[in-house]
């Protein structure tokens, strides 16, 4: 009986294909995980900025209260002409708009809004701009 010789060529080819598939999958896993981490870090920075503005706004309210209680004019806030005092705080594009209605020594917050600057022409890096 004649023996058929075993050749490594087809096996090597199969292993090469498997290796290429695994390498592509591993690169995808790593890039996705990195993107997740970057997004989580961005979210963390956004929340940090938001509460930094919140802290500054609350401190400004305290100073406004102190000024109004002493019968003085608040220096940080500006009158908007409708009987309210307004203050705009900004940090890295994030904004906090505060409006306070004062009547003598008493006051109440009528607006406390977080938003951020919107740039409609913002180009996203690596994204096809289209025609």
């Amino acid at each position: 009986m004649r023996q058929t010789p075993v050749k490594l060529g087809p096996l090597a080819l199969l292993l090469t294909v498997i290796t290429i598939c695994l390498a592509i999958l591993s690169v995808l896993v790593l890039t996705t995980a990195r993107a997740d981490l970057r997004l989580a870090e961005k979210y963390a920075r956004t929340v940090e900025r938001r509460y930094a503005l919140e802290r500054d706004g609350q401190a400004a309210l305290g100073r406004l209260d102190a000024a109004l209680s002493a019968g003085e004019t608040p220096t940080e806030f500006e009158p908007d002409g409708n009987g309210a005092w307004r203050l705009l705080l900004e940090e890295d594009g994030a904004r906090l708009s505060i409006a306070v209605k004062a009547d003598g020594g008493a006051w109440r917050v009528t607006e406390w809004r977080h938003d951020r600057e919107w740039d409609a022409n913002l180009e996203i890096e690596g994204l096809w701009p289209g025609f």
Binding site: V6, L8, L11, A12, L15, T19, L22, A23, S26, V27, V29, L30, T32, A33, R34, D36, L37, L39, A40, E41, Y43, A44, V47, E48, Y51, A52, E54, R55, Q58, A59, L61, G62, R63, L64, D65, A66, A67, S69, A70
Partner: protein, 147 residues
């Protein structure tokens, strides 16, 4: 080439192929491991940020340190410390006594005008890590308090 030499060449070639394949598999395993670690880090950070945000909102709604403790306490997961409240949570963000995530909210009142400004540092840490995962600083002004 003799039959013996042919068989030796075959074995050497097969061994080389297996060695190279094992080397590649080991390298790829490290890449998968790095991806898994980064993914777990992202999950922990997102959880920590959410827990810190929730604690900051509880602080904004609390009138006193006792009220803050009452707001955070659920299933005996919170306890008062000196000038702070500590609460533990599970990975699913739900209050759990002995959970993996610990949220520490400090309560630092400061007289300001006719009220007080309560400054707070919110620190979220994980049981398996020495360094805190996330720190948030916020404040709330309480009109008429402490006057």
């Amino acid at each position: 080439m003799g039959k013996k030499q042919h068989i030796t060449a075959f074995y050497v070639e097969a061994l080389l192929l297996i060695a190279v394949f094992i080397g590649i598999i080991l390298t790829l395993t490290r890449v998968y491991g790095a991806g898994r670690l980064q993914s777990a880090g992202a999950e922990r950070l997102t959880t920590a940020v959410t827990l810190a945000g929730n604690a900051a909102e509880a602080l904004a709604g609390a009138g006193s340190e006792e009220e803050l403790l009452a707001l955070l306490d659920e299933n005996d997961n919170a306890a008062a410390e000196a000038g702070a409240v500590c609460a533990t949570y599970g990975g699913d963000l739900l209050p759990a006594a002995g959970g993996a995530y610990t949220v520490r909210v400090t309560w630092e009142p400061e007289a300001l005008g006719a009220g007080e400004l309560v400054k707070s540092r919110i620190t979220v840490s994980h049981a398996g890590l020495a360094a805190p995962l996330y720190t948030l600083e916020t404040a709330v002004y309480r009109k008429g308090a402490g006057a």
